[in-house]
Symmetry: D3
Subunit: 324 residues, 6 copies
């Protein structure tokens, strides 16, 4: 167990010192031998309004230096039970959308081929599409399509923009459902809110069977009731977790491209994430952290902390799988 | 119905492009033919501490480019049921208080004379006084005085400042009650909090019959209970709605002149605003958005979204009135 | 009673004018004759990561110009019932940790020797150690050790850093317990959260009898239930109140060295502080306001308002003591 | 002459009030009847590092409200001698590079077809390529290729990026030379500086005959000597003027994607621009103002002022042409 | 000599500690006994666009804590040769222009009546009008009218705004000339630049005999040549020095209401100010520091340093007068 | 030559992607085999006022991603002629001054023992003292004491602070001269300015033979004349180059602890640094970049660019040494 990668010890090396990697873990060049691969996807080519999520991985690495080694609620010490490292950023192309998606899929395929669970940080939400493709084709996911737990202010199931563009950060899950990568009956979206393009904007998704839990329903029912339904929807089969930081209220996560007021508090988000133990997670991501619109690193800190919450869930899953 | 003004389509023209008008609606020169007139009041001559609300309309226009066309909870699509446009800013005078008030009253009188419902964005809270005068004299309000639903951290019913100045953003509603424009028995103030000049600061208002729901009472009772009382107080008669952005917590709306911690969340505010259907609203405003103290446009976004919430309520009222 | 120090009257002198003192009270050179001494401790020599709390007192003074004269919930008008003034900053040494602590203890000893209750603003949390020493040695506290009500994201009961440094802002309460200044059985910590160095990080404190109310327990139980326990733990004996601003969520108090998401809201904090009437308080502080990391003075405003909340509690205690 | 469009009078309507258009001029829907068309190009699809220039036109419009009506050095009052208005933004596509370029060319072609001189604000520097195509095909430029006066920190004559992408904001002028739109012997670049990809990075441009005046040469020779050479190079034939705001030092224009220290001062830039009287200008632009990286609107103010300097030059040219 | 007020010693008390007064000097309640009175004028009621200079004195006090005790070029140690203190802020009225001016004149009259030389910090430039009135009526100035050395981007000699308002920060020196307080033939304005309302905007001032040295002339002639003329213009008679911080380039002083690019560098300003030895100065001010638009305290630091430069000139004059 | 470390190719991997190392070079664990070692010293324990330089190395690494591979003036391509890498940060102790200095000396000694030339980024200026000790004891410097070219606003030759502290960022060069590490007759300080503690503050340094070129002398003489004297003073013997970023004007480098207006422009600094070819440099550093006070990364970009300028000088020296 001592052979697992360990973060730099902050009681010896201050948090402001040393290289900037996810969770202060070693930087490695390959996911070989890892249980969980932390990876950046610095790309926002699908952004229709305010770009900037391309800078997300670097700032989340920076703020993740504030994370310590164990979870104070679950008691999980991830680096004691799983081999985890920072595998760097996936290759991207900032000026060619289709090439960008293709490079991300290829890069992620190499990671999941090693058997490591990917925990990535975007990048805009379109990055989740090539990640899902890679996880589905090359990864552990033995069955298709996948279920998905989706925290977001937006459903991201629109059809096209700007006269026919079918790939934007507003369309990834429509594409993934069409491609058979996601099982719409096992998708649940939490935190959806804000004005819509038209009254029936979510009709297509609902018709496919996607369960949308709007902010208002969430506020009325509370965390525990909602999460019971969420866990029931995804069941025991392979599930992906995607966390759009704009699910969080803009006062807590201002650094994002499409803020919507009236959002989740970080406290609510943490309470929900901590209930994911036992879900069969094949990968997870945090997206839409856009540092040029951030204030004092606040959003990157939320991103890093959500990443740590997910990391503890994934490490526990590694432990359980190993025990099984 | 197709003849109503429509906002620019964001799936064709990105949100960062095109002219900056309220909700990306057409800019028109007169309120003639409109059901609802969106109007700016760039004036903060009544501000006793931190000025800046004069810049509010421009930044709220800017952030309102993030608003879409329909309300995701009520399903109301305002531009399908009412004719709405941006009528520009009222004339102001930044260096002469009494002339400033007078110009605002005159400008607003021209708007309400057309029969359009005014939805304005300030400006400091003293701007509401001339607006109320105009609505009362020239507008639809067939009876006087008006009721008022008032979201704020402060009661704004002080008497005078700086040795006798009776017109400041701390005094508008005392003046409006004295002038017989407002019916104190039909005024309800929500979110009031913060230290006071003296223990009995609110005694005058209470003695007139104004109902003050302090933050503490609000927190204890919750949205639904409070709103039941609010709707009961204003009844079916003509009512004005005024939303001071400092009712919202400074973490969510830092860009204002007189912040008070421990405020409303935007979620609570939205829940309250959505219960205003059926109130007989003769006009509404959002005030005290002060961009020089704002952070990343956060407060202007709150202002724009509250404006959209109110717009949906007003459009629904137009529809109901037309049906009746 | 008219001889008590009074703050500048904001209805005569605007809040942006005049000298910058705590609550706009007179600046005095000695605590002689005061019931409550407001004092700055501009020192962050114990900070292990992001320094900056040395600038806290100046910015809290600045933002405290927004405070008025009476508490709108309790009705307490502190300057009518107690003699209160700004006694300036304690002497410090920014580049020598042990000398810094020693100067603070000495400076605070002079204040408490006059019989004034100290209400200080740090500075990092290590400043509370010399303050506790002074209060215990020279102050009113006739018995030792003291109880303590401690609002914080962190327990601050670690042992050492950087290869043996026993004095940092992560260790003050371990030292104070070891020195016999604090009675661990009468310490209660509220708001503790965030990842930990190791799973058993808090074992030592718990073994001493310190009661740690983690954020999760707080969220589950609510303010009233938690405060009932808090008041029970400290009882009627001498108690110190220390408020680390990082107990508050970073969206509301970003200007601090060690932010942890998922924190207390200011509304919750105010509700708790208002229940401290009747506690036998021998001194209080607000610490870890770090202006270089603050945004628009937001955290300093929280610090100033918490200070005013505590001031009202202390003034009421002065009144009760005098009556008794 | 009184029939020319006039800006809003700031001695009547304060600068913070009213609609946000370039120079507070009327917003018109077509360039028909204009001598000079002010136009936004909100597109940064060619940006290889820090995107954000898509937000440039809106913020430059905002800051241009500080411009007054006449030039204090030349005495030119542009709105007295030419018909000028804000024709809005060109159509763009933020997620498809080739479609984006194509829309810009088409939109600009419509403007220049009216005979109006275009003065545009980007957008990244790749926008200048489709503008040059439009000016060359549809505009007044009766001869091809054009000369160009080019203020920039970078030569922008690279060949390709990211494995073959030939269209980025680092390549527009190589493409324009290859397409025969620009005459390399009549191109002069001023302010070029900063580290280079390789020692021979500028060899291709120099081989074509482009004259590069590096920052060091500029500093040594001074404004007057440099401008004499510049005017000599472009001669009396049709010439385009392109002003990349990163030619200015980042302390004065921080809001740009690729800052290089040691740049031009605004004073030097103004002195140079004021010597352009008499050049046969067929169009001009200001590019790379990236508001998400700007500080207090500083760079947008530089952009707006440079735009006003160019506008005075263009208006004077209109006057001379009309006189001829 | 040891009886003169001394600033706090920064080698004993760090610059971030202690009360915030001008230059860390004692705060006194009256100018009695002082040679030079440092005074704040927190008022911006004359501002036609971006208000905020009301917050200037507080932030300049804050940044002045960086000033040390002696001038490194002239060797002047002002606190060794003159009695200097911070006399606080003048009374103001933020919501009534004429009352505001009147209070400022009254307050300043009390100061100059003691014989102390006033060095004030605004406030917008309209504050200089009542200061000049006070200096002229009550101060040492035995002759009228005064000469004036005026650093500014704007001439501030307009006639009226907003339909007849004759008192704004764009008109003070027209009023002062009309009132006979200033001798136009002994006024010199340096750094004037930026677009103008109309081509002849400065004709009135020039016709009175005011010497306007535009930025372009300054840049061409250089500091020494310009200052020779300046000193010649004001001669040996009583002269006031007014320094509008917008004379400085906005990259160095962004925190001001009416920025104009292409301004003076601080280095040039310091070189000019250091040549004022020997001028018969009857008072001086620094105005238009507007903290809400400032960035990182940059402009307040410029304001504080200019104030220190002027203070050294004034102290030297006190010494010379005493010797004479 | 192909075996030298190369930076990541930005035409393949965008500048916002990939790990954050100095100049995007490989991160290595030891200086063995390197010609030049780039190293961070994240420590500001000697800072007497505004701390924050501890965060300098991380942000300079971040901004150094904007640097390319060759110098556009000298044509030097450092990575083609020398083996260069990022060796990480030296060990530090943020809360114990003497232990901090000792760790830095030890860490730097390990680097210089390999024969690599150190180019470090602080950290406050006290870090230069242990670096000089290491270079002198363990490095190539075969003779002692060293010469030094010192760019700074301050002489940093004070004696003690806060009642006897002899080690602060205001004293390093007095200590180094006393320890015999520096030869005062071969020290030249450029850019010195700002008010002083007392008129004779620099007398000790001057008495030792240190040559202080104040800002005023620099401005008068110009770059070439000053640098001729500088090169003459240090001669051909071993020389250290230390660049305090506060030598640069605060408008260009606001992120520093002790800003002084009227400073060097970056253009002037670059012109001076480019004349250092031929100096026998045994090490160099850039210090006092304090990100918490920085604005938009401006100062870190200056730091990174100055580092690149120095790197080209050092690489050329490596080439010459190898040739010799």
């Amino acid at each position: 167990m001592t052979s697992y990668h360990q973060p730099v010890n902050a009681a010896a090396v201050p948090r402001f010192a040393g290289r900037s990697t996810f969770m202060r873990l070693p930087a490695v060049d390959s996911a070989e031998g890892l249980d969980i691969a932390l990876v950046g996807i610095p790309w926002d080519g699908g952004t229709t309004n305010r770009a900037g999520a391309r800078h997300g991985p670097r700032e989340v690495r920076n703020q993740s230096s504030l994370m310590r080694s164990a979870h104070h609620v679950s008691g999980i010490a991830p680096y004691q039970i799983a081999n985890i490292a920072d595998v760097g950023d996936l290759p991207v192309n900032p000026i060619d959308l289709l090439d960008g998606i293709s490079r991300i899929e290829e890069g992620m395929s190499r990671i999941v081929a090693t058997g490591a669970l990917p925990l990535s940080i975007g990048g805009d939400h379109l990055t989740t599409l090539p990640v899902l493709r890679a996880v589905n084709k090359s990864g552990r996911a033995g069955v298709r399509p996948l279920g998905m737990i989706h925290f977001d202010a937006h459903s991201d199931t629109n059809d096209s923009y700007f006269g026919g563009n079918r790939y934007t950060h507003g369309t990834p899950f429509r594409r993934a459902i069409e491609e058979g990568i996601l099982d719409p009956a096992r998708i649940v979206q939490i935190g959806i809110r804000g004005s819509v393009y038209e009254t029936g904007e979510h009709d297509w998704a609902k018709a496919q069977g996607v369960r949308i839990i709007y902010m208002e329903e969430f506020a009325r029912r509370g965390v525990d009731d909602v999460m019971a339904e969420v866990l029931d929807i995804v069941g025991k089969q392979e599930t992906y977790v995607t966390f759009d930081v704009d699910s969080i209220d803009p006062s807590m996560a201002p650094g994002t491209g499409t803020p919507e007021i009236g959002g989740l508090t970080t406290r609510e988000a943490q309470q929900m994430l901590r209930q994911l133990h036992g879900v069969n997670i094949v990968g997870a991501d945090v997206v839409e952290v856009a540092p040029p619109f951030d204030i004092g690193g606040m959003t990157a800190l939320v991103g890093a902390t959500v990443m740590f919450e997910l990391l503890c869930i994934l490490a526990d899953q590694v432990r359980r799988n190993r025990a099984a």
